[in-house]
């Protein structure tokens, strides 16, 4: 079942997952045909800097490119950029493009990622930040701001908090409006989330939580954001960071997709000859189907499927990881934090500038969170590679190393 020179692999989605997969196939000396379809006109680029270095004005957009001349030379692919896949036929298999052309394949990989959720109100001043074109539009809008202008960010999730931090560093007035009483509580649980949100003010970010937006209207180049308590914000720019959803309409007819993503096995196969990577994949993590929109999942899922398809090699199960640079803090999480899990702080304290916490679920360590503690966090990674009881974790105390 390993790939041979007679195969044709079609990869749909030219983000980190799709591109890394192509690179890994060639690095493992797959010599067959390889086609990479991407809806955007841009070659694959890295998204995390868009809300960090690029938003702060420290990096030009070109610097986010994942395709250097060396990497391009090492990875021979047939590029189909600025083309959108509209159908996946799993029995063919083939992928149909919006032009009507069918790409017949022996294997297909779905890596179409997620798209930013939009606010119900659209004005000329509202936007989201997900793609390179969004970042370019944001950059242009920022250059037209006057010093007195305020930027309103809707949502204090990861994108909202990172963007707010970056814009404050540019010297802009930033107001963040969050619906939940505690931002990120649904992801990290209330205690850790509260400790992180408490850093907003020290970073110069005006954060208002527990607010409900009832309308956004536009006039004279400004948007007025109206809250249910009657307060109103006059913004030259409104950026929504209100989550994302899998971009899977194009495979609706394939029987593979659900609203929760594409169910895959430990090799990231949805069926024989069909793979799904990155943000769209629901992979087994400790027995539970898990879909995570993390950079590292995109990367590691691509490595995992490539190793399996080219060499029949099963890589070690990935350990979920993400990081966020927000409010001047480095937040890092390994594993899967459940919001209702009990958190044991094992280093530092929640009211301090640094801490490490263990999430306990079913008597096991289910996640480790760190604030400004990269060393202690990564030393704790073995607690998640193998299932580890809380008792054993405290005995080993790897974070002390």
């Amino acid at each position: 079942m390993s790939l041979s020179a007679d195969d044709h692999v079609v990869v749909v989605g030219a983000g980190l997952a799709g591109w890394t997969f192509c690179e890994e196939l060639r690095r493992r000396e797959y010599r067959g045909a390889l086609t990479l379809v991407g809806e955007e006109e841009h070659e694959p680029y890295d998204r995390p800097p868009l809300s960090k270095q690029v938003a702060e004005g420290k990096w030009e957009l070109e610097r986010t490119s994942l395709v250097t001349p060396e990497r391009r030379a090492a990875t021979e692919v047939t590029w189909r950029l600025a083309e959108r896949a509209v159908e996946l036929n799993v029995s063919g298999p083939f992928v149909e493009l919006n032009s009507g052309e069918r790409l017949h394949a022996t294997r297909v990989v779905v890596a179409t990622g997620v798209r930013a959720r939009q606010l119900p109100w659209r004005t000329p001043e509202t936007m989201t930040l997900r793609r390179r074109d969004d970042a370019e539009r944001l950059s242009r809008a920022l250059h037209s701001l006057r010093p007195s202008d305020e930027v309103v960010i809707v949502g204090a999730g990861f994108i909202g908090a990172e963007l707010a931090t970056a814009l404050v560093r540019r010297g802009l007035h930033v107001r963040v409006l969050e619906a939940a009483p505690i931002p990120l509580a649904a992801q990290l649980g209330p205690d850790i989330a509260r400790a992180i949100a408490a850093k907003a003010s020290t970073a110069g970010v005006n954060l208002r939580t527990g607010v409900e937006i009832v309308g956004i209207s536009s006039e004279g180049g400004y948007s007025d954001v109206l809250l249910s308590d009657g307060s109103e914000y006059h913004a030259r720019l409104v950026v929504a960071g209100v989550g994302a959803e899998p971009a899977l309409e194009w495979i609706a007819g394939s029987g593979l997709a659900t609203a929760q993503g594409i169910l895959v096995n430990e090799h990231f196969e949805a069926r024989a000859r069909i793979g799904a990577l990155g943000d769209v994949a629901r992979f087994p993590w400790r027995g539970e189907p898990t879909r995570l929109e993390h950079w590292q999942i995109a990367h590691d899922s691509a490595r995992t499927l490539a190793a399996w398809w080219v060499n029949g090699e099963a890589l070690a199960p990935l350990v979920p990881y993400f990081w966020s640079d927000q409010y001047g803090q480095k937040v890092q999480v390994l594993g899967r934090p459940h919001p209702e899990a009990r958190v044991h702080v094992v280093r530092g304290g929640l009211d301090e500038d640094r801490f490490v916490g263990l999430y306990e679920r079913g008597g096991l360590v289910s996640a480790v969170v760190g604030l400004n503690q990269p060393r202690a966090l990564m030393l704790s990674r073995p607690l998640l590679v193998e299932e580890t009881s809380m008792e054993e974790a405290f005995r080993l105390a790897p974070w002390e190393g």
Partner: protein
């Protein structure tokens, strides 16, 4: 095989250390230290994994 770190790109996420702690060490000062810049052949696979897994693309390998 030589390991190189571009310290302008490194932001001490310590992902490399999670993969190959015998080669990469982020210390309590928050900086990354290379414990060896010429790891043995048996560590090539792990170092290559760390090169790819670095979210900042800060690590490279030279023959």
């Amino acid at each position: 095989m030589r390991v190189r770190v571009n310290y302008d790109l490194c932001s001490s996420n310590a992902v490399c250390m999670g993969i190959a702690p015998d080669v990469f060490e982020v210390r309590d000062d928050g900086f990354l230290y290379l414990l060896t810049d010429e790891p043995g052949e048996d560590r090539v696979a792990a170092v290559r994994e760390a090169v790819g897994a670095c979210p900042n693309g800060a690590i490279s390998l030279e023959a």
